[in-house]
């Protein structure tokens, strides 16, 4: 198929470009432009991050990142080919050139970075946590010696859990259940004392599945760092720059108060940093192989990072997640864009 063919050629070319002359312009951008379509790998279904709505349209935080990149390059968020991927095949799909960009709640780790992949900036800082019923009377994970814990098998979640308990010299009885929804159901049916998964997941489950959300607490211990970031192939530096700066532009837009609604009015703003971001002054996008209005298009298409967060997983959604670590650095979070100038 010609679309895959483009990707595969891009992979080969990326490999050659990397080994021969790392400074060459990136082939992924050219491939995406010439086929007029961005192929984006997403989750087959993760609430708030990537899930099909009732009309079969993909929605979520990860999906909005894909849309922002498509808006920057193609000025059209409908020109995305979503490829739903399972956890096992996602990295291969990227390496083999089947997709141009992977935005599938993928944790940034050294091993993955070293195996021919590159990570764009983190779009969601997550971590593994523990949820217990309040009636258990537990306030810290260190009191959970001998507890039964519901966990999904074959995930880093299971390994982190074992590591943490071993490190603290505690024991636990795992109740291992394959499907996420069934793990949750088992917990709320009282089959185990503790439910463990990423904190975003715990909050979502508590908000939407529990009959009385206030009866459950998430313990303060964070057992792992899970920085979820988009992934690109190693070696195409220009492509990675485009994805990275698209995300930075969304973060910067929030910091500067530029929203989807007011972005047109902000074109007349006198703040030089806003003018630079929106391409009114200078031509920063050209350095990335884009044009002046690249960031304008991204903000116009999906809004700033804060808007994306609130629309998909924020307080007004059923997931009701706090910004927490994902707040702007000015609000005590980790979302920080390098200067766009």
């Amino acid at each position: 198929m010609s679309l895959r063919l483009g990707g595969a050629v891009a992979l080969a070319a990326a490999y050659l470009a990397f080994t021969a002359a790392p400074a060459l312009a990136g082939p992924t951008l050219d491939a995406v432009k010439s086929k007029g379509q961005l192929t984006c790998g997403v989750n087959t279904g993760l609430p708030g991050f990537s899930s099909p709505d009732s009309q079969g349209k993909w929605t979520g935080l990860d999906v909005d990142i894909c849309k922002a990149v498509a808006a920057v390059i193609l000025n059209d968020t409908s020109k995305i080919r979503y490829t739903p991927l399972s956890a096992q095949q996602r990295l291969t799909a990227l390496q083999s050139g089947e997709i141009d960009l992977l935005v599938r709640n993928t944790t940034w780790s050294l091993t993955r970075d070293a195996q021919g992949l590159d990570f764009a900036p983190v779009v969601y800082y997550d971590g593994q946590g523990l949820m217990v019923p309040k009636s258990l009377g537990v306030t810290s994970a260190k009191q959970l010696d001998g507890a039964t814990i519901c966990v999904q098998p074959g995930t880093t979640t299971e390994l982190n859990l074992a590591d943490w308990f071993r490190a603290h010299n505690l024991t636990f009885k795992p109740v291992v259940i394959e499907a996420l929804d069934e793990v949750n159901a088992a917990f709320f049916a009282g089959r185990c004392d503790v439910l463990t998964t990423d904190i975003s997941g715990l909050a979502g489950v508590r908000a939407s599945v529990a009959t009385k959300p206030d009866d459950f607490i998430i313990l303060p211990e964070v057992m792992s760092k899970e920085p979820l970031a988009p992934v690109v192939r190693h070696g195409d530096n220009q492509w990675r720059d485009i994805v990275s700066w698209t995300i930075y532009a969304l973060i910067e837009a929030e910091e500067k108060g530029i929203t989807q609604a007011n972005v047109d009015a902000k074109l007349k703003d006198t703040d030089p940093s806003v003018q630079r971001l929106l391409g009114v002054q200078g031509d920063l996008g050209v350095g990335l192989g884009l044009d002046k209005a690249w960031a304008y298009r991204a903000i116009k298409a999906v809004g700033n990072y804060g808007e994306i967060f609130e629309r998909n997983i924020g307080k007004k959604t059923p997931l009701k997640l706090d910004r927490g670590l994902n707040a702007l650095w000015t609000n005590g979070g980790l979302m920080y864009a390098p200067p766009i100038r």
Binding site: M1, R4, L5, G7, A8, V9, L11, A12, T44, G45, L46, P47, G48, S51, P52, D53, S54, Q55, G56, K57, W58, R81, Y82, T83, P84, L85, S86, Q88, Q89, T92, A93, Q95, S96, G97, E98, A179, D181, E182, N184, A185, G204, V205, S208, V209, T211, N312, I313, T317, P318, L319
Partner: protein
């Protein structure tokens, strides 16, 4: 003594008991352990039925949103009212849902017509070509003013049906060749067939799908690539071919040696012998087990979720990840379960019917 009097004096003949009481005594309370079992089942029904009725009907919500459903506490049929189109058709473009509907009907129609013995033979070839061709036209589009829909957007029931029906159709010729190979006199052919069949049967379908989807693209040279659905289809086809081969081999071995010898005596070559004498008899013997393997492969297609294809079961799971509608997995699985049961029950009834029809000639 008259004849009439004699008859009246006789003990009444043993007649089958009639009426519900007698039926119950014969079927439910004939022995002490049957009585015990009956009472146990009645007790279980008394325990279960009110709860099910309360959940499915009394406390159920038929309209409204997820919050209404949670408040009512019963089954959330509103969830299915909202999501049934997504579960059936996946991410296929919303305004084009009539196309997968026609494709499903065409595939079911093909199966139903194939069930009619009067059409077996050449007409069946035309029916399949037409039915599958029409379904493919509806799904792909791209001609006659229909929009082209890439396979990434396929999902739900049409994908499940396409994978199982096309998988079976494509694996059948390969399976027959493998069966002939395994029963062949040529040692190399026999060896290769045995190795293939045993290798594939010794490996779970899930690992073959992984090979087809994850490993294959890495081995292919740059520029060569295969569509994701096609990759799954090839995997399923290679897998079921091994099973079809074993079923067909059973049929081949059931044909008496005399048939082969008679065919040889008539001067028929190997392929003529197989085509005219052996295979027609062997295949008609194994149609019921073939239907059985089809049922198995129909359900096996739900494994394609591991390679990111949204078949009927996976669309139900994906529908559950909509943040607004989480936690209604009972309803989702029930809906999908009913569809699977309908298809499998129809197929298994058909298989029973065939056994009766085809067995007539051999029954004594």
């Amino acid at each position: 003594m008259s004849v009439t009097e004699t008859t009246q004096d006789r003990v009444a003949p043993i007649r089958p008991h009639r009426g519900p009481l007698a039926w119950a005594r014969a079927n439910l309370f004939s022995t002490w352990y049957n009585t015990l079992l009956t009472l146990l089942i009645v007790w279980l029904l008394i325990r279960a039925v009110p709860g099910i009725v309360e959940w499915a009907l009394i406390k159920a919500s038929w309209t409204g949103d997820a919050a209404d459903c949670r408040e009512a506490g019963g089954a959330c049929w509103a969830f299915l009212a909202e999501k049934w189109r997504f579960i059936l058709f996946g991410t296929f473009p919303d305004d084009q849902h009539w196309r997968p509907t026609l494709a499903i009907l065409s595939m079911i129609g093909t199966l139903v017509l194939s069930a009619d013995r009067r059409l077996w033979g050449r007409p069946l070839l035309y029916i399949w070509t037409l039915g599958i061709g029409f379904s493919a036209l509806m799904m792909f589009g791209g001609v006659l003013g229909l929009d082209y829909v890439p396979t990434e957007l396929w999902g739900g029931l049409p994908l499940t049906l396409a994978l199982s029906i096309v998988g079976l159709m494509a694996s059948f010729p390969l399976g027959v060749l493998l069966a002939l190979g395994r029963t062949s006199d040529l040692p190399v052919m026999r060896g290769l067939s045995v190795v293939y069949i045993e290798l594939v049967r010794g490996v779970p379908l899930i690992s073959i799908l992984f090979m087809a989807s994850v490993m294959l693209p890495l081995f292919l040279p740059a520029g060569v690539s295969i569509d994701k659905v096609l990759r799954a289809l090839i995997g399923i086809c290679l897998f079921s071919a091994a099973y079809v081969a074993e079923v067909v081999r059973a049929g081949l071995q059931a044909i008496p040696k005399g048939q082969v010898e008679a065919a040889k005596a008539l001067g028929l070559g190997y392929w003529q012998r197989q085509r005219l004498i052996i295979l027609p008899q062997a295949l008609s013997l194994v149609i019921p087990p073939l239907v059985n393997s089809f049922i198995a492969s129909f359900k096996d297609t739900s494994l394609v979720i591991v390679i990111g294809l949204l078949d009927l079961l996976s669309t139900a799971k994906s529908a559950l990840t909509d943040p607004a509608w989480r936690g209604f997995y009972k309803e989702a699985y029930l809906f999908v379960g009913v569809i699977y049961v309908l298809f499998c029950y129809a197929l298994s009834r058909y298989s029973r019917y065939l056994e009766t029809i085809l067995g007539q000639g051999r029954r004594r």
